[in-house]
């Protein structure tokens, strides 16, 4: 099983627009991807409801896991996404 730990860069955390973009990307991998807070229960990373209910604040670490062919590449893509401030287009509005 592939695993990555990454700090969520979006200032608002994994809410709203960042959660939307992340879950869409997780679903697009076509693999069963999970996301967990440190020491927490992993949840389905393609479910906006589960991801939002984790309530991950900006600047906190999360752990992504995936299985299957291409899991490493898929997780690298998701890590790259989480390292951006996904709320940026809204900043200052």
């Amino acid at each position: 099983m592939a695993q990555r730990t990454v700090v969520v860069a979006s200032r608002v955390g994994l809410h709203a627009r960042p959660a939307m973009l992340f879950t869409q990307a997780a679903a697009a991998t076509g693999l069963p991807v999970t996301i967990a807070r440190p020491g927490g229960q992993p949840v389905d990373a393609s479910s906006i409801l589960y991801v939002m209910s984790l309530g991950v604040p900006g600047g906190e670490e999360v752990t992504l896991s995936a299985e299957g062919e291409g899991a490493d590449e898929a997780l690298d893509g998701l890590v790259e996404l989480l390292q951006q401030d996904l709320d940026a287009p809204e900043a200052g509005a």
Partner: protein, 579 residues
């Protein structure tokens, strides 16, 4: 606010028409077809899915649920595609909730296990709602979106009409039992002619937003929900009437009024009485976009910039840089003009994710407005620093005032903080009766004051602004409220400092005459109301306004005060404005 029982002179319902009454906001009238905002379906948890009138078997039920989820998600996505900005984001996120695989899989598992559809959807949605509520803040507020997904899916699965704001294919009169701010945000404004609600009050948020957009609005219209979708109606905000299937004469009357409104709007001279006494006519705004929209001839500046709108969508307090950018944009939109900025007025009916006090039993009387400085001083200090930064960047001097000031000591503390931050012109709101009674001492501490008449009436009359059924008590025409306005205006005249009014009362042309007569120096209102107020003030001398004010103060009830003022109003103003 207009009083529905007066001024309803020209209603010709005609044969086949019927008239519903409510409380009007604004004074415009329109004719158009009804679009009903459907409430959540009220169905029993064990309501079966029907196919050809008989309960469906397991396979057909499962298929109906899958179709419902897919259809709701597609519908929301299509709505999002046609929207912009925050509304687009909210609709996209809601669409994704409807498309959520975990939600669908869990509901289908329960349906496969024999659970009725409504019970299955409710159980799974409740489980997520509980998680959201436990997380609090921003997530707790998203429960509304989750519930709207539930309502839509249940309605679709059972073949009921879709709840929520319908897609508007033509200019329509939007009718709802009540509209949450999120519903209002989802409206396709290009196709909204008017807003009518069964609940709500004339100073509730639907009414205020409608006023800002210049849309005629009726609240507290019993029976509005029963008007069939598509039926032609005439909405008359001045008369407070909703006429179903209006006849030719009424339709012609509405068209004549629309033409007259266009004529009034063409006059953009500075506000003044007939004898040249200047009264600044200003607009109320909530965003930088509003500032850019209202800027232009006929608007002499902004009398109330409600900064909390910048904060409402945020999960954390906006940074100084973000705020300064927004304030600079407002100041640049209105160069050389007066711009009055109100510092954050959170709490009570405007909760913020990061500043709301938990467990307040009586939030209108709790830690709101300036009082947040007691628990969260950095919010105000950041905002004042951002305003000083904008002042420097735009090369303009905003007038900065704090809401919910009760004592001269609070006014002094605020002035000290604001001046220390570099803000040049400092004022406070007078909306607590204690501040009105002690206006002279308050004015000694600041450069100006502005009366918030909605809250002043709420606190003077001990009447919740959100309780529509108490609208008669909340009336700004109540003599006790007028006394507090008069006391504040007198204090301003005595010390030679400006006293403005930025409540909705300034937008009532008759009340505007009273306020001018009392010595109020500026009137700030929804931009759409300025033309009528300008016209009314222009047709009276300052002395006539003083007589009108004296008549209002001499009355013993709100209806008597308004009637006395109407009797002294120039006939030309009464006729032209349909008062």
């Amino acid at each position: 606010m207009s009083t529905p029982t007066l001024g309803a002179a020209e209603v010709h319902p005609g044969a086949g028409s019927h008239v519903l009454t409510g409380v009007g906001v604004g004074r415009r009238a329109v004719v158009g077809p009804v679009a009903q905002v459907r409430p959540a379906p009220a169905v029993a948890a064990d309501t079966p899915v029907l196919v050809d009138g008989v309960p469906a078997d397991a396979a057909a039920t499962r298929a109906a649920v899958e179709r419902a989820f897919t259809g709701v998600a597609e519908g929301l996505r299509a709505q999002a595609a046609g929207a912009t900005g925050t509304v687009k984001d909210v609709l996209s996120a809601t669409a994704q909730m409807a498309a959520d695989n975990a939600l669908r899989t869990q509901v289908l598992a329960k349906v496969d296990g024999g659970a009725p559809v409504v019970a299955a959807v409710d159980a799974v949605v409740d489980q997520f709602a509980t998680m959201f509520e436990a997380a609090g803040g921003y997530l707790a507020e998203r429960v509304t979106d989750l519930r709207s997904v539930r309502d839509r899916v249940v309605a679709a699965a059972l073949g009921l009409p879709a709840p929520g704001v319908p897609a508007l294919s033509e200019p329509s009169v939007v009718v709802a039992r009540d509209l949450a701010p999120a519903d209002t945000a989802a409206l396709d404004l290009a196709n909204v002619l008017a807003i009518v609600t069964e609940l709500g009050g004339p100073t509730g948020h639907t009414a205020i937003i409608a006023g800002q957009l210049g849309l005629p609005c009726l609240v507290r219209v019993t029976g509005a929900g029963d008007v069939p979708a598509g039926a032609l109606v005439a909405v008359d905000a001045a008369a407070g009437t909703l006429t179903v299937e209006p006849d030719e004469a009424l339709r012609a009357d509405v068209e004549r009024r629309a033409a007259r409104d266009a004529e009034l709007a063409a006059d953009t001279a500075a506000g003044a009485t007939a004898d040249g006494h200047a009264v600044a006519l200003l607009a109320n705004i909530g965003t930088a976009e509003d500032a850019e929209r209202v800027a232009g001839p006929g608007v002499e500046g902004v009398g109330l910039f409600r900064t909390e709108v910048l904060f409402l969508e945020a999960t954390t307090a906006p940074t100084q840089a973000d705020q300064a950018a927004a304030y600079t944009r407002v100041l640049r939109a209105l160069p050389e003009q007066k711009v009055v900025v109100r510092t954050l007025d959170a709490g009570a009916d405007k909760p913020l994710a990061f500043a709301t006090q938990p467990d307040e039993e009586n939030p209108a009387l709790g830690v709101r407005g300036y009082r947040l400085v007691r628990t969260n001083p950095e919010l105000l200090d950041t905002q004042l620093a951002a305003l000083a930064q904008a002042q420097a960047e735009a090369g303009a001097t905003p007038w900065v005032m704090a809401p919910m000031i009760a004592t001269p000591a609070e006014a002094r503390e605020f002035a000290t903080r604001a001046r220390a931050a570099g803000v040049a012109t400092v004022g406070v709101m007078v909306e607590v009766p204690a501040a009105a009674l002690r206006a002279r001492d308050i004015l000694a501490e600041v450069d100006f004051v502005s009366l918030g008449t909605n809250d002043l009436a709420q606190y003077a009359m001990a009447t919740d602004r959100l309780r529509g059924e108490l609208a008669d008590l909340l009336d700004v025409w109540q003599p006790a409220v007028l006394d507090l306005v008069a006391a504040t205006a007198r204090a301003g005249q005595d010390v030679g400092k400006p006293v403005g009014v930025c409540g909705e009362s300034a937008s009532d042309p008759l009340m505007a005459l009273v306020l001018v007569g009392l010595g109020i120096t500026s009137l700030s209102m929804s931009a759409g109301a300025l033309a009528a107020v300008r016209f009314a003030v222009r047709h009276h001398t300052l002395e006539q306004c003083r007589e009108i004010a004296a008549a209002a103060l001499g009355a013993s009830s709100a209806p008597d005060a308004r009637a006395a003022v109407l009797a002294l109003t120039a006939p030309e103003v009464r006729d032209t404005l349909g008062l």
